[in-house]
Assembly symmetry: C2
Homo-oligomer: 665 residues x 2
């Protein structure tokens, strides 16, 4: 990093996301020109000092702290602040950040910045405590080192190539990574896994030959309080180690992993650990040796434990060679069936990483029952910032409202804790950035990354308030910009849901790439994601009484609530029940009329967006404005295609006309 704290290099035209290089053009940027005194020794403190200086603050000696406008200093033991926490005290003349540890100073600095740019303190004078809800706040990159023939450089990436790799090798110039690390630190992310969970041959070598390169990446992240993790292949002892097995109970295998971990730690002393997708969609795993996933995960965990490393073990295990004719198998059941019996059998440094729903990041799924089932295990909630099933960053979809609903879900009913409170293994999400000029393809998708970090830190934050922060940081305090973006994004997730697969049934996307409609695209596939639509009705009977029994994987009251047509929420009706098209929802509409109505309404909502956006022209960077305009046009085209294919499909199948006589093909 250059001396002024702002990364420079090949791509200075890259958009700064929510951290402009200069505060001069941000209204109310009250920090500029102020004096700041920072107490503390070490790299993270140097990072904060450099950042503050680069943004125009005046560093003063701690000895002169009494006169400084901003003081950053260690908290008292009595404050009982954790190493990442801080307290922010605003007085009339001075602002004081008291930190629990160096990371707390870093996060406190960015909180100051956030509030300054919003012309706050919006919480007024006094002290606020800031403590992360989760110790582990992680981003997973599904980046490949070598361009994959089908998946490309970034699996499920919709923002260009990888910022870490360039066709076959680690990048020499890490300028972009430095910017990225700063952005992540500003939203509290403290862990990054730098390669795809599907570990191909080239990527497996990150663990061995490429360690010097990984160490360079880790060094950049370390400067911003972020630890680096690697996705590894469970078969590595076989494929890299030359052993005849990767059986977790084999001593040579255990030794190989221990030695491998030692080599990693010799190069990267604060290495975070391994991410493992085992026995999943063709990846190797302990099942090949008749071992349990606990045995597999613990073996790896023991190799890492002496140095403080973690294993993130994904629970995304199911039969992906299912026969569509087999109604007895239910993919939704799989993670619970595999993992719930293992609760309590995982070592302390194992995190079982569970996708938020039982299928795969659909716009609407019930919250996974694995999380409440494994209270004796450190379970992480896995979200997807990259918009695999939510429009590929071509559609404007702000995901924070969905995530907030998930985090707020109370698995044991109204009197029980929220999901966010029982997730003891932190929050993980798949990143949405690439080497695109705007990082995320759709510039408004930056808000998802921002919101993810903020919610991982504090799951009680209001999605609209988070959006306010992101807008102020990114565009300044222009009220028309703020209102315009809110009007595009606030309801965008529900709008997307309304014009795509209805009522929680999911998976009506094109099997090629997961963009655009294909109602029967997965209906006869081996992937276990079916809707069973016939001329009379649609939906998957997952009840205990007559279906696959999936509803019974929930604790009360949800097992009863989902089981019954009387109580199942409308938005999940078809996930849990097969019903006639004439079935009447709680909303009063029939299923088929609901499908028609929501699809027409969804398109109507999307059709309003271009004018909203057009009105903001001239109020922001022209290239960014143009990019969003292009994507809104594509979203409109695609939404119409969704509407027409879905409506036509159900009209042809049901023969029930639209009550309002609108055009169905």
């Amino acid at each position: 990093m250059p001396a002024d704290g702002i990364p420079e290099g090949e791509d200075m035209t890259v958009h700064p996301m929510w951290l402009p290089d200069d505060l001069a053009d941000r209204e109310g940027a009250g920090l500029r020109g102020r004096s700041i005194a920072i107490t503390g020794e070490g790299d993270l403190f140097e990072t904060v000092r450099r950042d503050a200086a680069a943004l125009g603050l005046r560093l003063v000696d701690v000895a002169g702290a009494d006169g400084a406008d901003v003081v950053v200093e260690p908290a008292d033991a009595a404050d009982a602040l954790g190493p990442e926490s801080f307290a922010l005290t605003r007085g009339t003349d001075r602002t004081v950040v008291r930190y629990g540890g160096a990371s707390g100073a870093l996060y406190g600095w960015f909180q100051l910045l956030r509030e300054a740019v919003q012309a706050q303190p919006h919480r007024g004078l006094g002290t606020t405590r800031h403590e992360p809800a989760h110790e582990l706040r992680m981003l997973d990159h599904w980046d490949n080192v070598a361009v994959h023939p089908v998946m490309g450089q970034v699996e499920r990436g919709y923002a260009g190539g990888s910022i870490f790799y360039d066709d076959g090798r680690l990048r020499d110039d890490l300028t972009r990574v430095e910017r990225y690390a700063r952005l992540l630190a500003s939203i509290g992310i403290n862990r990054v896994a730098i390669n795809n969970v599907n570990v191909h041959a080239r990527e497996a070598r990150l663990l061995t030959d490429d360690l010097p390169g990984v160490a360079r990446l880790a060094g950049v992240f370390r400067g911003w309080g972020i630890r680096t993790h690697l996705s590894v292949s469970f078969a590595a002892p076989l494929t890299l180690g030359g052993l005849g097995t990767s059986d977790p109970l084999d001593e040579a295998v255990q030794e190989w992993w221990a030695e491998t971990a030692d080599r990693v730690y010799a190069t990267i002393p604060d290495f975070g650990g391994f991410v493992v997708k085992a026995d999943s969609e063709g990846q190797p795993g302990p099942f090949a040796y008749g071992r349990s996933h606990a045995e597999g995960a613990n073996m790896l965990a023991r190799a890492l434990a002496p140095r403080g490393g973690m294993v993130h073990w994904r629970a995304f295990v199911y039969n992906h060679r299912q026969d569509w004719r087999d109604r007895s198998t239910d993919r939704a059941r799989a993670a619970y069936d595999h993992f719930a019996p293992l609760d309590g059998h995982f070592d302390d440094n194992v995190v079982v990483q569970v996708k938020y729903g039982p299928l795969d990041f659909q716009a609407r799924e019930p919250v996974s029952p694995v999380i409440p089932a494994m209270r004796a295990t450190r379970v992480a909630l896995e979200l997807q910032v990259t918009q695999e099933y939510t429009g590929h960053q071509l559609h404007a979809v702000y995901l924070a409202p969905q995530w907030r609903e998930i985090l707020d879900f109370r698995p044991f009913g109204d009197d029980g804790p929220r999901l966010a409170e029982i997730v003891r293994g932190g929050i993980v999400a798949v990143s949405n950035v690439g080497d695109d000029e705007f990082w995320t393809g759709h510039p408004l998708a930056q808000a998802n990354l921002y919101a993810y970090g903020r919610l991982a830190w504090d799951p009680s934050l209001d999605p609209a308030a988070i959006l306010d922060e992101w807008i102020a940081l990114t565009f300044g305090m222009d009220e028309r910009v703020r209102d315009g973006i809110h009007s595009i994004l606030d309801e965008s997730w529900r709008t997307y849901e309304s014009y795509t697969a209805p009522l929680g049934v999911g998976f009506m996307v094109s099997p090629q790439g997961h963009y655009g409609p294909a109602v029967d695209g997965y209906e006869y596939s081996p992937w276990g994601t079916y809707h069973f639509a016939d001329r009379d009705g649609i939906g998957v009977d997952r009840t205990v009484a007559t279906g696959t029994g999936y509803a019974g994987q929930y604790p009360s009251p949800w097992r009863e609530s989902y089981e019954s047509l009387e109580t199942v929420p409308d938005e999940l009706l078809l996930f849990f029940h097969h019903v006639p098209y004439t079935h009447r929802l709680h909303s009063g509409s029939t299923v088929v009329q609901h499908i028609y109505d929501t699809h027409f309404a969804g398109v109507e909502a999307v059709e309003k967006l271009p004018a909203v956006w057009a009105a903001l022209e001239g109020r922001m960077d022209a290239a960014l404005h143009a990019r969003v305009s292009d994507r809104l046009a594509e979203q409109r085209r695609s939404a119409v295609e969704w509407r027409d294919q879905i409506n036509t499909y159900f009209w042809r199948k049901s023969g029930i006309p639209d009550e309002r006589g609108r055009t169905i093909y």
Copy 2:
């Protein structure tokens, strides 16, 4: 070619197809050891002499021809034999081939070989005249020079890589091409186009930089009486020539093509000409300049005419960005609408190349109405030997019965000529070979290539008799082998039809690659191939009275026959009419019961094949036997998948149960 006439080289393990290197292991190979006297000077005669010697005949001087067992000599003018024709006279002691020209001698030699291996003369003593029904008998290769990211080395190739190219360049070793040329000559093929009709940037350079390599290929083919053609891009004056246009009426464009043709002829004196896919599926064409396809084709033809070259101009022109919601557009109409008005406007050295059906090589389509509509034009019939829509050479499908039906079609009714008689531009087909050990992936698919050549020469040949020839040449005279292969192949096309898309509706294949079922795979696509199935019925109304009017493109009596439900043939019902599932076919069955019955029956037929084949083990090359066994297993798996998806789709949609109560999912 080495001196002994049999090509040698890197791949001597390659299967010889129907021309074994040695006749010793063929029963009744009565030619071996016989003496042969060949009159004639020139390369083709040398080819025949070398081939005869290599197969164990004794060449004797023409001066000693009186004592020779076989005499090959020029015919008298009174015989009126064309340059490719010959008469074969079998006496008790001697066989005489009298040829019209050098090619006639070559084809006469292979006829001798064919009959000898079948322990014939099966026509007994006396004289038979052999004259090709079509002057132009061509194979098109959809081979790419550079591996295409989606289509690979051979577009729609199911037999490995190209025998001409190896990832980015022409092969140095043309041993395999030499074998191939000999095989083609043996079945009378006299024209080969060596590159994909979709001309990508790399392939465009075959016309310029690569001419020396093309000349090497052409030299190999020339030795076997075959002229070489190139697929060219209509935009070549722009992309290769640096002109600002490729307008066919532009003088600079005309000059560029004339000079280009001159350069080609300076390198390849017998160059065959250009194949052009213009204004089709994204390829450039004259429409961009407001010119007709006659203007485009004639411009190219005039560049080639001075040297005897041809233009093969494909009629596969349609709107491939159709909106599925638009019922007014019918892709089936497109070729006729574009080309019929141009009848009589094409130069004599233009061949308009028409796919056999109006869509795209489906297992069942009506014969294209373009052919009878263009009696003043040299129209070629285009077939597809490569099994794009008929099982990818994983399914055993013998296509000769389909081709024979097409060739026998009488467009003007029972008193009019057969299609084969009005096709004045010859027969063209897409080849099915690759660098696979057995050339064609499925060894039994060799029979399709063999039958194609034989039918192009003589469209009145019986498919079963052609199969007898191929079996005898390939496997010898083992009756059990012959009966087994007949029992697998004779009905294989109708069997394939029975378990795939029903009643001529077509296109229920997976859009990715065209293998396996996807009933709605093309239903909402831009490709214009829809079935319009709803809960009440299925099919495309192409009548004049209420539909797209396509039926009216046929002359009487077919326009009336196809128009009416009373007279439309069952097998084309859904191509021409949208009918209820309860509509009763001429066969007495309802549409939906027909679908169920044929799909169960198709699988039952396929399930019998492995045992038939297993009984032939030990009677042929073990590797070939094993390869076919593997493919029959895949065919069975795939046929079951077809049956179950199709039947389930129509059961779910119609709600009408199978009369016989069989399992539908």
